[in-house]
């Protein structure tokens, strides 16, 4: 009895240590970044000097950085919108319409998701050069959308597959025209998949570097701006930006995960 509890405790202790190590491995770097963003010293060395908002103040006075932030929002919102506009109808087509090559289409639409961003970036760069497109934030948007469409199509399609078709029949039976059925019954029931995949797309696009690197013109997105300033060494200002991005990403990811969870029942 006694030895069993002891063993159990020892086991729990080992288990707890392993968990702590894994968590430290995952989050220690982030924690350090956050801590140094509030450290009252321009060099990133220990010991810590004291608390300051200074780096956040300089950050909000840096017009280049703010422009990059605006660009990032523009790109992420546009890419997400474009993705939804193409991805949602595609998911409906996969679910509802029988057409030749459907299985092939289903597999191919997933491919950009697993392709490395660098491949997407290079290939799209080639294409845009070929057809004579000026590189700009718009070409970045198109580049981002290719990979994101896979996410939207997969999520929305999965939800549509689970959607009880008799709901739509019931709506029609109760006098709803096809557009009323779509807006009052179908859409509310796949709503969480739409919002969830849109949030996920937004987050992924916002943080994206490889595709952006190849496809942007003179404008920079936020991750690109950070990367370019790194050449002059890590500044506490960068840590502050990093902290803000982490905060924003965290909110988005929590939102998207909770949205993608199946509704109660």
């Amino acid at each position: 009895m006694v030895s069993a509890t002891l063993k159990e405790r020892a086991g729990n202790g080992v288990f707890g240590t392993v968990i702590a190590c894994i968590l430290a491995y995952l989050y220690l770097p982030i924690l350090i970044l956050v801590i140094f963003s509030f450290n009252d010293s321009s060099s990133l060395t220990l010991p810590l000097k004291g608390f300051t908002w200074q780096w956040y103040e300089t950050l909000f006075n840096n017009s280049d950085l703010l422009q990059a932030l605006r660009n990032s929002f523009y790109v992420a919102i546009s890419a997400t919108t474009l993705t939804l506009l193409i991805g949602v109808p595609a998911a409906f087509a996969l679910d509802r319409i029988r057409f030749p090559g459907k299985t092939v289409f289903r597999r191919l639409v997933l491919l950009p998701l697993v392709l490395p961003g660098i491949i997407t970036g290079i290939s799209m760069l080639n294409l845009f050069k070929l057809v004579g497109f000026q590189l700009s934030l718009e070409t970045v948007i198109i580049g981002h959308a290719t990979a994101l469409i896979s996410i939207v199509v997969t999520q929305v399609f999965a939800r549509l597959q689970r959607l009880n078709r008799s709901l739509e029949e019931a709506a029609a039976d109760l006098g709803a025209r096809p557009w009323e059925t779509f807006f009052f019954v179908t859409l509310p029931n796949i709503r969480s998949a739409l919002i969830g995949s849109a949030l996920l797309s937004f987050t992924l696009s916002f943080d994206e570097i490889p595709v952006t690197f190849f496809l942007t013109g003179r404008d920079n997105t936020l991750p690109m701006y950070i990367w370019s300033t790194l050449r002059r060494g890590i500044t506490p200002e960068i840590n502050a930006v990093g902290t803000l991005i982490i905060l924003g990403s965290l909110v988005m990811i929590v939102l998207s995960v909770s949205m993608l969870r199946p509704q109660d029942e």
Partner: protein, 368 residues
């Protein structure tokens, strides 16, 4: 009574080869409770879905209240359906579910509220108006589905296996409740079921279907007492069906050799001596003869060996074997007590007697 629904030579072929409904013609009177009865795959659901507008017939015509609705979409037909899985909108409250159909009619808000409340009252769910479907029990959901369908006052209410998702006790209660509802609101009900008891209990008229075609249409008692084919005899209630050969025909009765026994039967059509036939009789039409008891002189008498005896409470079911090997089933109602009723023991030899009028004959043509 005027007919409200008319199927005119309606057929439905899926994928160019699977015939789901085969040349069905049927007329349903206003206010009637009609059941489409048959095993799964007999075409009953497809027939109902064609009336609702979810499927278009491959050929033939469907009339609703004198209007040709064959190719009208569901949202333009004045029929409403109670779905097998209820298909309640999970994102809407009960009240909103019931109001959905009225909102589509662009009805005045106040009017909608009044009708929804009245209908929820009717199905006894007023206190659940603000709940979501998943918060309700199976039986309550069933009633919401019903309320949602009848609130639009359709010309015909369609019910697709409405009770199949309920457990046995609740199902029995709902059978009665539905029947009462039908009497109260006077709508025409068309129900699909594979459960013959449900059909017999609830409907004014039952349509027995098999392989996409109608086999027999009739009131429950008529189907039970005078099944048109061996299929109906077997599907509606239980029947003993025995192969036999006609010995001689005299007037309305025919003598048929079944194994070693000779039975007097009542053929419905023409039969001739030497013809192969099927003798059908219900398990409860058999009467056990006491050892010294004299049978009625016109009645059939034959001997059998008692096999299994199954106790059902108010009755017993015996599986017996004729001397020539045929298996038959006999139901025996019990009297004041099971002990006093003299249930024969397993393995004992018994004599049965049976009224020739309750023994129909089926010819080869009736085997469907």
């Amino acid at each position: 009574m005027a007919s409200i629904v008319k199927f005119d030579h309606v057929s439905k072929v899926f994928g160019g080869k699977i015939v789901a409904v085969n040349d069905v013609s049927l007329s349903i009177a206003e206010g009637e409770f009609v059941t489409l009865l048959g095993p799964s795959g007999c075409g009953k659901t497809t027939l109902l879905r064609m009336l609702a507008g979810f499927e278009a017939p491959s050929s033939g015509q469907i009339e609703l209240a004198g209007e040709d609705v064959t190719h009208l979409p569901p949202y333009k037909r004045n029929v409403n359906m109670v779905f097998q899985d209820y298909a309640l909108f999970p994102h809407l409250t009960i009240q909103k579910n019931v109001a959905f159909g009225l909102e589509r009619l662009r009805m005045d808000r106040e009017e909608i509220g009044k009708k929804v409340r009245a209908t929820l009252d009717l199905v006894d769910l007023s206190d659940k108006a603000d709940r979501k479907p998943h918060e309700l029990s199976g039986g309550q959901r069933q009633r919401v589905a019903l309320a949602r369908a009848i609130v639009r006052e359709p010309k015909v209410l369609l019910l697709d296996e409405p009770l199949s998702a309920l457990d046995a006790n609740l199902r029995e209660a709902m059978q009665v409740e539905l029947k009462h509802l039908h009497e109260r609101i006077g709508l025409t009900f068309v129900m699909v079921t594979h459960d013959q008891t449900e059909a017999l209990v609830m409907s004014d008229r039952t349509v027995v279907m098999h392989n996409g075609a109608i086999v027999q249409v009739g009131a429950p008692a008529e189907l039970y007492d005078r099944p048109a084919t061996t299929y109906v005899a077997d599907f509606v209630g239980t029947s003993n069906l025995l192969q036999g050969v006609v010995q001689k025909v005299n007037g309305v009765a025919a003598e048929v050799a079944v194994g070693s026994a000779s039975l007097r039967c009542t053929p419905r059509g023409e039969v001739a001596a030497g013809q192969e036939v099927i003798v059908g009789f219900r398990p409860e039409k058999l009467r056990l003869l006491g050892a010294s008891e004299k049978p009625d002189k016109d009645w059939n008498v034959f001997e059998a060996n008692v096999g299994e005896v199954l106790f059902h409470g108010s009755s017993v079911r015996m599986r017996c074997k004729l001397a020539s090997g045929e298996q038959i089933v006999c139901d025996m109602q019990l009297g004041t007590s099971a002990a006093a009723s003299g249930i024969p023991e397993q393995g004992s030899k018994v004599r049965f007697t049976m009224d020739p009028a309750s023994v129909p004959l089926f010819t080869e043509d009736d085997r469907a």
